[in-house]
Amino acid sequence: MNYQKYLSKTAMDIPPSGIRKFFDLADKDKEVISLGVGEPDFNTPWCASEAAIKSIQKGVTQYTSNSGLPALRMQISRYLKQRFGVEYDADSEIFITVGASEAIYLALRAILNDGDEVIIPDPSYVSYSPSVAMCGGKAVAARCFVDDEFRLTAENLQKVITPKTKALILPYPNNPTGAIMPKESLEEIAKVVKQHDLLVISDEIYCEMTYGGRRHTCFSEIDGMKERTVLINGFSKAFAMTGWRVGYACAPNEIFKQMLKIHQYIIMCAPTNSQYAALAALKGGFEDGFAEIKAMVDEYDMRRRFLVKRLNEMGLTCFEPKGAFYVFPCVKSTGMDGEGFANTLLKESKVAVVPGDAFGESGKDFVRISYAYSLSSLKKAMDKIEEFVAKHKKN
């Protein structure tokens, strides 16, 4: 049967993910040390798992409200206010999604008409651009450079704005670069956003993972930006809860209503027991001052410092990322681009890293290394990479 004529052109036109393509290769070999997966290597706080188990034992396995457990929305509202100083109403501005991924898609669905342009910093996480395409929009890359520590600058944003530009996706702290946007930088972006009357989808899933003493600033905290912002967040990274699939969106009520409507029709509600787990994770956090997050971030910080030093010393220039759990070294000194480097490294040294161009053109000469791995594995991998670089280095 010829399926081509049945399949959606939009679906077929979406390119496969560069990460996926690469891991199909890496997966075949058991000896490979993978530094590829962007997922916390910590366990979900036990209080969260226990709450989910209890909810199952009690037979609480029905749907929740479409917008999610009221208690969970209330705790999220409290969390955002206490930890980041932004205020959202638990009933009219916050709802629970199946991970931040769903929330991103819903936000785009809710705002895009055919042909609308959405600006995405390049490099960025792989799902934004396909999501824009699936919603009938056009993804436009705003290039970010290592000289700016991969921040999005107002100037590079200006360059790609057209009359069709409707929104900007702002994913900071950033996957894959580890870049953050300090408050001053966000203020610069806010001016452009206001001037061109744009909306902002701010994916702040890594907000708890910042290093060097600076707390994350929410984009909606910037003067006048809350009414233009859909804030996206979730429990996967901060609470090591990737598989539970719990995220949330916070948006001005008019946008909230449209997003929630779509969510109702396609999802119904986020998994009930996962929501109980998330609720317990937040309550537990308030009880001990979010000590588990702090311990986790301290551990990531040690790994981050170790990697940045090692990579720079072996000749892979690497700016010091201040967020998320990735480092993004430049591999040009080996005479290879990111893809060549990642492929050869996998073949010769059995270490898997992700080629930077999977995240956009600006990542071409870079690779992404995740440090959601133990220090011992990172050390082993760094020894191997060092040997590999020495062998291939162009003087």
Binding site: V37, R303, R305, K309, L375
Partner: protein
Amino acid sequence: MDNFDTKILKVLQDDSRFNAKQVGDMVGLAEDETQKRIDALEESGVIAKYTALCNTEKLSEDIVTALIEVKVTPQMSSGFDAIARAVYQFEEVKALYLMSGAYDLCITVEGKNLREVSRFVSEKLSTMRDVISTSTHFILKKYKTEGVILDEDDSEQKRQVIL
């Protein structure tokens, strides 16, 4: 001991083969400062020893480990210390703790086989003057030791995921 020392220890306890420079990079100290601190931790005995943790299940020679609960009569002048010192001098004794609860000393003993451990108990331990009784428990399988999981759980599936 300050926060830096705590961090240094945390790294070395996980993997003592990181050198001073690498540890320094992680905790944010210069190499020589880190080395000084490690030296001090060694000298003061905070760091007692560097060692290799073996998965005994994988050794070519068999090793039998037993936990022995011992009740003793404490002595007038030295309490439990004198008897403990007499016990820990045997090289079969890998660990020795004074316990609260139903018995007094807990001893970890290693031997080549069951007979060797039994001989230690019957000939060396239970014949000591202050030992009232012993209760020996052989370890059948080690799932986790010193914080390291030895259990090879092969149920984890290969995942294909983009993130």
